[in-house]
Symmetry: C2
Subunit: 465 residues, 2 copies
């Protein structure tokens, strides 16, 4: 069986064995079982524990060899010294792939950890078993409903097209929770851990070339011993799907932290920066920029030119979006005379009617706002639109009406990034329902909307190379 077929069985398994399953809250085997059971995994679950007959209401096996059926994925949470023996058993049982959550390998100061890691690497190589980890929180496949991690809550992330390949489980938790807040749809998220034989190139190739649900790939990179192989893979995959990278360990101190954390030096950041720029890859510099950019790339039409219209219910937020656009190498579109005349017909001479357009006077008329939006999107001088509205007491129902009106229009062929800001609880439902529909991505602030738009433009320039 080729590696990509094994990885398919690993990430989308029909059956999972949890070696070290538990019903005791203070064991990782409890949390892995919770993730599978509460995460509503549809395949077969085989808990393995020599001291239990039934865990989580599921028949439990003394060992892997006692399991009657096939096992696609083995999730291992037993202590490090027992892992080599467990891997031998996985091979005998013809397990296709392993998630090795157990820690205590080359990331620890004790040299025994490194010896144990060499041993499992050798065993995995001999049997050709792909292993995610060790020292990983696991992975979550939202497309198929497989939560092979110790955090059940990842199952609550919205399903979508973004896949995160991370060198840190902590970063997956940060991004996963930000994804929930920002309603970003994800396909998969995984932490590579110590990368015994599944490293960035293997994961990137798989999600880039084999996984249809993955539309955008985000990488969180701390350090690599041989980055060349990664950059070769990026060049291939980057022609098909946009790739975003967040590089950590930029400082000298960060570099040494990386060595302890994942056993690899982060390497000189300037060299990384240059290499990232030369590849088909978009570098982001914060977790929120990663989320915003990945979400916009997944949802919006490509941005094919740098001319942006800013339509805002209030002038101030429109101005700061305009500033942020120009910071990001985009420019404010100059509408055709025809569009400008139409806008002048719709808005009274109370407001700024040129770009950035102050739609204040249209505030009570969502129809007018949508008319302006559609007109601007049809304007040949405009490549994309930022659409902003702040809540005020008098316009309680604006998003609800807009949502209704949006139902009757076609998906936009140019990117639209919106920002609707209101106190918690007021527009939440409408925003949640609208977000992602018709090619509209709703982001958190005017500046973040503009920054994501600038990144759509960078991504477009890269895909063209």
């Amino acid at each position: 069986m080729a590696l990509k077929e094994k990885l398919k069985k690993l990430f989308s398994p029909d059956s999972v064995a949890v070696i070290g399953a538990s019903d005791s809250f203070d064991k990782l085997g409890y949390h892995v079982m919770k993730s599978l059971v509460k995460g509503q995994y549809k395949g077969k679950i085989y808990p393995v524990n020599p001291r239990a007959e039934n865990l989580w209401g599921i028949k439990t096996y003394l060992s892997l060899r006692d399991i009657p059926g096939e096992v696609d994925l083995g999730i291992i949470v037993v202590p490090a010294p027992s892992v080599p023996e467990t891997l031998h058993e996985c091979s005998k049982k013809n397990v296709k792939g392993v998630v090795l959550i157990t820690a205590g390998y080359k990331e620890i100061e004790d040299s025994k950890g490194e010896a144990l890691e060499r041993e499992i690497k050798e065993i995995a190589g001999r049997y050709e078993i792909p292993i995610i980890g060790p020292n990983t929180f696991g992975f979550v496949n939202l497309t198929d409903g497989v939560n092979a991690s110790f955090t059940y809550e990842f199952s609550l992330i919205k399903k979508g097209g973004v896949t995160l390949i991370s060198q840190s489980g902590g970063f997956c938790h940060l991004c996963g929770f930000l994804a929930m807040e920002e309603r970003m749809g994800m396909a998969k998220l995984m932490s590579l851990g110590n990368r015994v034989n599944v490293d960035f190139p293997e994961a990137l190739s798989y999600f880039g070339e084999e996984d249809e649900a993955t539309k955008v790939i985000a990488l969180y990179i701390e350090g690599l011993d041989e980055p060349r192989h990664l950059f070769e893979t990026i060049r291939l995959v980057g022609q098909k799907k946009p790739i975003i990278a967040y590089k950590a360990g930029k400082s000298e101190k960060g570099d040494s932290a990386s060595r302890f954390h994942t056993g690899s030096l982060a390497g000189n950041y300037q060299i990384w920066k240059g290499a990232l720029r030369q590849s088909n890859i978009l570098e982001v510099t914060s977790s929120e920029e990663l989320i915003d950019t990945a979400k916009a790339l997944d949802i919006c039409a490509p941005l094919k030119g740098p001319r942006i219209a800013v339509l805002s219910g209030q002038a101030g937020p429109g101005m700061i979006a305009a500033d942020a656009l120009e910071d990001g190498d985009l420019r404010l579109a100059r509408f055709t005379d025809k569009t400008q005349e139409k806008i002048n017909g719709l808005l009274p001479p109370l407001a700024i009617r040129t770009n950035p357009v102050d739609m204040g006077p249209a505030w009570y008329s969502p129809e007018t706002m949508l008319d302006i939006l559609k007109m601007v999107l049809e304007d040949k001088e405009t490549d994309g639109v930022i659409f902003i509205a702040m809540f005020a007491s008098a316009n309680l129902e604006v998003t609800r009406t807009m949502e209704g009106l949006m139902e009757n229009i076609e998906p936009f062929e140019k990117p639209v990034i919106a920002c609707f800001t209101a106190p918690s609880g007021i527009w939440d439902k409408e925003i949640t329902r609208m977000d992602g529909k018709k090619g509209v991505a709703i982001l958190h602030t005017p500046e973040r909307a503009a920054k994501a738009m600038a990144n759509l433009w960078k991504a477009n320039l890269m895909m063209r190379q």
Copy 2:
């Protein structure tokens, strides 16, 4: 009565008349009444409307002169052509100050607007009545519970020490809602509107020198005709309270938008940038940075040196915080041998024990985490601490326990900025209760925590000048 005494009556009135009060949802007079009534204003409310006897269950007057008692603040929402007459009546009634929400003055294309504005400016000058506006959403005084705006929801902002003086009502809405999300405590927020006679210098002097509740002042500036007066005021007030500025209209297009929006050119941004740098003022470049920085300045002890400890429950988020700190001209503290030995005694050799400290193995022991935090705060080589923890299924109760432990310690004399990230609903209550206590500010991401820490350092350098 001196201007500062009139402003005191205006911002903290014992009685308010709403000229143009209404019970019809589509009138601004409805929303102003709602803000006062639902915002639980404790003083006397006098609705004025020639066609009603009772509004919002409150006796309503035909005109200002029919009101039996004193009127400190008049909020005007009648149409622009009726405003001059209303101002004459305000003077006769000895109203101390006015909020003029009505728009349609020099911000409109029609030259009648400019003429009307000259007229009200002349009347206000003759009677020496301070006017906030015209073309403003009003102001909110959270300290004293006065919501003199058309958006009731501002009354839900947490009470605290940050005052926002804005040249845009839309920006106040953006920041007010972000403040709610990020649990930032505010003293006042106001939009200057067209600044007929209360401009940045007047407002800044008042909140800087007369208002004890204001600890930190944030300015949102689009454009000014005579910025010199503002910079003189900044130099005086900036010695007493930290001032943050967000300058919009940086681009040429933004500049022209500013002219339409508030009637003033934004001016060349490079000149502004230089002038801001030379004053005792901290420039921020996004609404979220404004919120984070103002909140940290309000809550935390001053940062007296650039040496920061990063304590993180997970290595990855600690690394990105360390990167962001070094981006912001701070550096990672090198602990004394004594501190390092103690940490080595508390954490097993599984994790990074030097700064940034990976507290992963202490994850199940909040006592150990707090011990490390206290030890590091006592270390003479450390000036401030970033404290990070991501939720995982296994550590559900961590913040609750930490909250309990924090009860028993003294407020920190060095700044502590924390970041606790979890899915919505899991740690919300604990975070809300802990945030702001004992000098700990809880911010949204590791990078934003680090950026705010860097701004504490910049603010400290400025205050020393």
